[in-house]
Symmetry: C2
């Protein structure tokens, strides 16, 4: 867990909210739990933020930006386009924690909170764009077969990752995630024959 001992109250509040949003989601995260984890009193919390929704929006944007940064390193980094897509699939992940972004899509209260829903939509839109650009580049360069639709392949890659998280958490083991990714990589390689 992130060490908050040296940070100021506002930073500790954001960090503990980031963790709780990831672990429990928005609806199941209480201000009380945030304050306890941040070791911050109630007065302090309502001084820095107007309430739970405000704090969650700030923390979720932070989580989303970190997720995007990691994805950019894979999908817009070095290597051929096909290698980057496969690298994104194979990237090391804390599988059993799930995806801090995708998690919110399962939280009805989060989807009903406009600021959270907006961040969710925009984050996946950028992710989709990164993957689609790599796929399009792969088709253009001949690494991927001509008849592949880049947008479809990109969405499939994102879905395998998001679904892998779900299957792994259901099982209590990272094995389903790894198996799903291995299957997707095998299909991509076989399709390029």
């Amino acid at each position: 867990m992130y060490d908050m001992s040296d940070a100021d109250a506002r930073t500790r509040l954001i960090d503990s909210t980031r963790e709780l949003l990831w672990e429990r989601g928005y609806a199941a995260m209480s201000p009380r739990a945030i304050m306890q984890r941040a070791e911050v009193g109630q007065g302090s919390m309502y001084h820095h933020f107007t309430g739970k929704a405000d704090l969650a929006a700030t923390a979720f944007a932070d989580n989303a930006e970190r997720t995007l940064a990691a994805a950019r390193r894979s999908l817009a980094g070095a290597g051929s386009a096909r290698e980057r897509l496969i690298g994104y699939l194979n990237r090391r992940r804390e599988v059993l924690r799930g995806c801090p972004v995708g998690r919110m899509a399962q939280d009805a209260e989060a989807l009903d909170t406009p600021e959270l829903a907006a961040v969710l939509r925009e984050t996946f839109a950028e992710l989709r764009g990164l993957a689609a650009a790599a796929a399009a580049e792969g088709v253009a360069s001949g690494e991927l077969p001509e008849h592949v639709d880049p947008d479809e392949l990109a969405e499939t890659v994102l879905a395998v990752v998001q679904g892998g998280y779900v299957l792994a958490r259901a099982e209590g083991s990272p094995v389903p995630f790894d198996r799903a990714v291995a299957g997707a990589v095998a299909l991509i390689k076989a399709a390029s024959c």
Copy 2:
């Protein structure tokens, strides 16, 4: 929505809990909401069930069995093995409602409730078995390439579906689901060249 008007109290309680588990998950579902939707009083509810966990376990097992029944129709129904896998991917779904089974994997409180976690694990185990059997049959018959690992392909297919739900809900549109599935079907067909 399911019409409960003619059912007895116990049935109405189970049906409204099934819906609420699907819509809101376990942690965010209150006994109060269950009773209101079922049009049943508190005394009745605590007469038929020991509490929220008991009722949720019954209702979730019901949801899981319905999901499995639908999957069996695709994966263990008529047609060639490859057609059945593609048929499972293409099956009509209420995409924006999400998967009533996969939903629970994102709910920390549900995972911490042994009876719910057990149903979740067992349901995906059976789904995995159905998909893997179809994949193995496809490889044996030559419909799918020899080098395909049936367990990996099966897991990828499940992940595309589960991830498709996540992406669709994040976007508020079924389009990402359909695109992810289309990409997966295209890959399976291309790999069989």
